[in-house]
């Protein structure tokens, strides 16, 4: 089960390092990519949750159905997760493009209407 704890540690690391990137970011595009890093932590975690040692892909085209396959439910969840990521990033980048057009800067700490 050592793989699981390693994956859990990687997931925690990716989550926190991504959030660190967001907290310190001086560029909105960098910030969007840091959000992708945070999301990567869920990929790692889900992969580890669905993995079974020695398991094959849950596709039974050329192999007999056996218990030695990994979890297809988790893979379906990950597919959803990936779509969510792609779409959120598209929306955020669209916002970023417009912010750059309006303000001329990508630094999220530079322009601000919402203090107080």
């Amino acid at each position: 089960m050592i793989y699981f704890y390693a994956a859990m540690a990687v997931a925690a690391w990716l989550f926190l390092v991504g959030v660190y990137g967001i907290v310190t970011s001086r560029n909105l595009i960098h910030l969007c990519l840091c959000l992708v890093v945070v999301q990567a932590s869920t990929y790692v975690l889900l992969t580890a949750v669905g993995y079974r040692p020695g398991g094959i892909a849950p596709i039974f085209a050329d192999v007999k159905q056996t218990d030695k396959a990994v979890d297809p439910v988790i893979q379906a969840l990950m597919l959803t997760d990936i779509v969510v990521e792609a779409t959120v990033v598209a929306l955020l980048l669209a916002l970023t493009v417009q912010i750059k057009k309006k303000t001329g800067t990508l630094n999220p700490d530079k322009v601000n209407l919402m203090r107080g």
Binding site: F4, P72, L79
Partner: protein, 255 residues
């Protein structure tokens, strides 16, 4: 002006969250006979009862197909949202005359590169279609194949110009295709209601006999899969279209 204590706040919280991860990890994973039951049932049933060999596709479009309906509409709404956010709020009509676009050549592609890219476009389309329609048999499906298909116009943009990209991906037409792809999923789900079954029930012919597994087996699964493939292709091309148009307009404006 950032909050003066920002980093202190972050590191305190991060240490605690790391501890939470560690404390939950030491009790995981749960016993295999408990946490593996869902997987065992799905892996056991997908071939015999659903006539598909890709268990992931069976989960996506049948067992948990309702999730995928939501997922498809997340993509749909994000594409629409991106179009709204990137719309030309101050564009003059007619600014998109083709001659205005001649500097739309993406990169200074050499002839060798252009020939190679153009030669790759056909196989890319073919591979995308293959990936979509074999979704219930081999790895792949509407989402994966759709993304591959959406790269084909992008290749044309890289080899030729935005003008070519725009000519083959008429914006208006694409929106309709995307909406039809997304709506079709819901409509197929509704059909089951007219048959007196639950929403999204697999009402089409699954396949003959026990081992009849082919491109058309699996009942509604290949149909929904194809609808998703269409929606994803159109959606991603629309996204590329919106961002490219935006970028080129700025290049045009000289900023």
């Amino acid at each position: 002006m950032r909050h003066p204590g920002r980093m202190g706040i972050f590191f305190t919280g991060a240490a605690a969250v790391a501890a939470l991860y560690a404390l939950s990890a030491i009790r995981l994973p749960g016993p295999e006979d408990v946490r593996g039951e869902y997987m065992r049932i799905i892996n056991g049933e997908c071939v015999t009862f659903r006539h598909v060999t890709d268990a992931v596709t069976a989960v996506n479009f049948d067992f948990r197909g309702f999730d995928t309906l939501g997922e498809e509409f997340i993509l749909f709404v994000s594409v629409m949202g991106t179009l709204v956010l990137l719309r030309q709020t101050d564009a003059k009509p007619g600014a998109w005359a083709p001659d205005a676009l001649s500097p739309g050549r993406a990169v200074g592609a050499s002839d060798a590169l252009r020939v190679w890219i153009l030669a790759m476009t056909g196989p890319t389309v073919l591979f995308g279609i293959y990936t979509v329609i074999h979704g219930q048999l081999t790895p792949g499906g509407g989402f994966q194949g759709g993304v591959i298909l959406a790269t084909a116009p992008l290749l044309l943009y890289l080899a030729e110009s935005f003008d070519v990209f725009r000519r083959i991906t008429s914006h208006r037409y694409l929106e309709i295709v995307e909406a039809v792809g997304a709506g079709a999923y819901g409509v197929i789900g509704l059909l089951a209601l007219f048959r007196g079954r639950e929403f999204m029930a697999n009402i089409f012919h699954l396949g003959k006999g026990g081992n009849d597994i082919n491109l058309f087996s699996g009942g509604t699964i290949p149909v929904i899969n194809a609808a998703v493939g269409i929606e994803v292709t159109a959606g991603f091309v629309l996204l590329l279209y919106a961002f490219l148009q935006e970028m080129l307009e700025r290049k045009e404006a000289g900023s």
